[in-house]
C-alpha cells in the first residue's frame, strides 16, 4: 500500500489525515484518496485537474515531473508527501 501524507497546514482548513491507498501513478493514488475526502481535491488540484501552481508532491523523496497529468509512476511501498511550495507565499 502507498502511504500518503498531506502538509499539516491543510488541517487549518479541512481534515486530511495520513492514509494508505493503492495505485500505480500519482493520479491513481490521489484519486483513491479523494474518493473518501472529496473536498480535499480542490485544495490540491486546480479546475483542470493539474497540481496547483504552489503545491508540490514528493514521491520517495523526489519531486514529481508531470504536474499536469500526474503520471509519475510509484511502487507498492512508495511514500507520497503532498506539500506546499514556498512560492505560494
Amino acid at each position: 500500500m502507498v502511504r500518503v501524507v498531506f502538509t499539516a497546514n491543510l488541517e487549518r482548513h479541512l481534515s486530511c489525515p495520513e492514509t494508505t491507498v493503492s495505485g500505480a501513478s500519482v493520479r491513481e493514488v490521489l484519486d483513491a484518496v479523494f474518493e473518501t475526502h472529496q473536498q480535499l481535491r480542490g485544495y490540491v488540484l486546480d479546475d483542470q485537474s493539474r497540481l496547483r501552481q504552489h503545491m508540490i508532491i514528493f514521491v520517495d523523496g523526489k519531486t514529481i515531473i508531470d504536474r499536469v497529468h500526474l503520471s509519475d509512476a510509484i511502487t507498492a511501498n512508495s511514500e507520497i508527501y503532498v506539500m506546499q511550495a514556498l512560492s505560494g507565499g
Binding site: 497546514n9 482548513h13 479541512l14 480542490g42 485544495y43 479546475d47 503545491m55 506546499q84 511550495a85 507565499g89
Partner: protein, 371 residues
C-alpha cells in the same frame, strides 16, 4: 444611517460596528487569510466570504447567522478543457487552461430571484448560482463569445470581471465590466450579450484602436439605484458616465485633481452625485502631491470638489482599490479603505472624515450592511 461595515483584507474579514462611542473594529473572521471579496446579501442576511489561499486555491464560505458560524460552499469551476485566449500581451503561443484564480465580484440577483448570486472571476468567467452558492454554472453565452478571446489582464495577469450591476427594477438586465474587456449588457438574464462602449476611449493602444469597446479597462462600474439608466465608470484613462443604459458614454473632464483611480461610488438617491479617489496616473499610482483626497461631484461630473478634512495632507501613499469605497443607503455615510491599511469614515457625505485605523492589512473590499 448604516451601523455596520464589513472590510475584506489581505489578512482577514473585519467588521465595524457603530455604537454610542462611535465605530469599533471587531476581531476578524478568517484571521490571516486573504479575503478577496465579501457580500452580505440584503435579501436574507447571508454573509459570503471569498478566500484566496496562496497554495490551496480559491474557496467560498457563507454564514447564515451573522458570522458566528461559517460553512464552506462551492466555488465556480471552469469546465474541463476551458482555455483563455492567447491575448495580445501573452508570451504563450497556445491558449492556456482556465482555472479559477480569484473571485473578484459577488452580487445578489434581484428581489424576485431569492437564491440567485452572480460571481465575476479571474480569468474572465461569469458564473451564476441559484442555490446560494451551493453550486455554480458558467455563463457560456458570454464565455463562448469570440470577443472574449481578446480580453486581457489589467493589473492582474489574466482578465477579470470586477463589476456586476443587476437592474433594481428588472433583474433580467445585468451589466458586467471586465479589466480588460469593456462593458457587456444582457437584457434577457444572460441568454445573450452586447458590448456597449460608445464614447469610451483608451490611451494604452494605438489611436485607431482607442475606441474599440472590447479592450476598454473600466476599473469600476456602478449603477445609480435611483435612476438605473445612469452608470458611472472609473476607467484607466478617465471617468465616464452614461445616462442611457450604457448605449452612449460621455467622458467627464471635471474630476480633480486627476482622472486616474480605481473606485467610484454613486449616491443612492442623487444620481448626479458620485465620489472618487484619484491618484496621479497609471504609471505613478500614489496620491497627487502625497495628499490623500476624496473627490465629489454633485452635478453629474461637470465640476468636482476635493474633500480633505480629516484626511492625510502629506506623505500618503494610500491607494484605494476598486471595491474599497462604499456609500450607505442614506448617502451620508461613506467608508474607504486603502492598500496601506488605512480606513476612514465620513458621516456627512464626505465633507469631513474620521480615521478609524492606519494599521489594518491591505484592504480589498469595503461594504456597508444594507437592508
Amino acid at each position: 444611517m448604516s451601523s455596520q461595515i464589513h472590510i475584506a483584507t489581505r489578512k482577514g474579514l473585519f467588521r465595524l460596528d457603530r455604537n454610542s462611542n462611535g465605530w469599533s473594529i471587531g476581531s476578524p473572521d478568517f484571521e490571516g487569510e486573504h479575503v478577496s471579496m465579501m457580500l452580505q446579501d440584503y435579501r436574507d442576511g447571508t454573509i459570503y466570504a471569498a478566500l484566496n489561499h496562496g497554495h490551496f486555491g480559491v474557496k467560498l464560505h457563507r454564514s447564515s447567522d451573522g458570522g458566528v458560524n461559517w460553512e464552506e460552499c462551492a466555488v465556480p469551476v471552469y469546465p474541463e478543457g476551458a482555455t483563455l485566449g492567447a491575448g495580445p500581451f501573452s508570451t504563450e503561443a497556445e491558449p492556456k487552461p482556465a482555472s479559477l484564480s480569484e473571485i473578484w465580484a459577488l452580487e445578489p440577483g434581484g428581489v424576485d430571484q431569492p437564491n440567485r448570486l452572480w460571481c465575476g472571476t479571474i480569468p474572465g468567467g461569469l458564473f451564476r448560482s441559484d442555490d446560494r452558492g451551493s453550486s455554480w454554472q458558467l455563463i457560456e453565452s458570454l464565455w463562448d463569445l469570440p470577443e472574449r478571446q481578446h480580453w486581457f489582464g489589467g493589473g492582474k495577469d489574466d482578465p477579470g470581471i470586477h463589476s456586476i450591476c443587476v437592474h433594481p427594477e428588472n433583474s433580467r438586465q445585468v451589466v458586467v465590466s471586465i479589466s480588460c474587456g469593456g462593458v457587456w449588457v444582457t437584457e434577457n438574464d444572460g441568454e445573450s450579450w452586447r458590448c456597449k462602449g460608445d464614447g469610451i476611449r483608451a490611451d494604452y493602444v494605438p489611436p485607431d484602436q482607442a475606441n474599440d469597446p472590447n479592450i476598454q479597462d473600466v476599473h469600476r462600474l456602478v449603477q445609480s439605484p435611483s435612476q438605473p439608466d445612469i452608470y458611472w465608470a472609473q476607467h484607466h484613462n478617465g471617468v465616464f458616465r452614461t445616462t442611457d443604459g450604457a448605449n452612449s458614454w460621455q467622458e467627464l473632464s471635471g474630476i480633480k485633481p486627476s482622472a486616474f483611480g480605481f473606485a467610484v461610488a454613486v449616491h443612492p438617491k442623487q444620481p448626479e452625485t458620485a465620489w472618487f479617489v484619484p491618484a496621479i496616473k497609471d504609471e505613478c499610482r500614489v496620491p497627487v502631491e502625497g495628499q490623500f483626497v476624496i473627490t465629489r461631484t454633485t452635478d453629474g461630473g461637470e465640476t468636482s470638489e476635493i474633500l480633505t478634512k480629516g484626511l492625510p495632507g502629506e506623505h500618503s501613499y494610500d491607494i484605494v482599490y476598486r471595491h474599497a469605497l462604499d456609500v450607505d443607503e442614506t448617502g451620508n455615510c461613506l467608508a474607504v479603505g486603502s492598500t496601506t491599511g488605512s480606513f476612514w469614515i465620513s458621516e456627512d457625505g464626505g465633507d469631513s472624515w474620521q480615521t478609524i485605523s492606519t494599521n489594518l492589512p491591505p484592504i480589498y473590499c469595503v461594504r456597508f450592511v444594507k437592508t
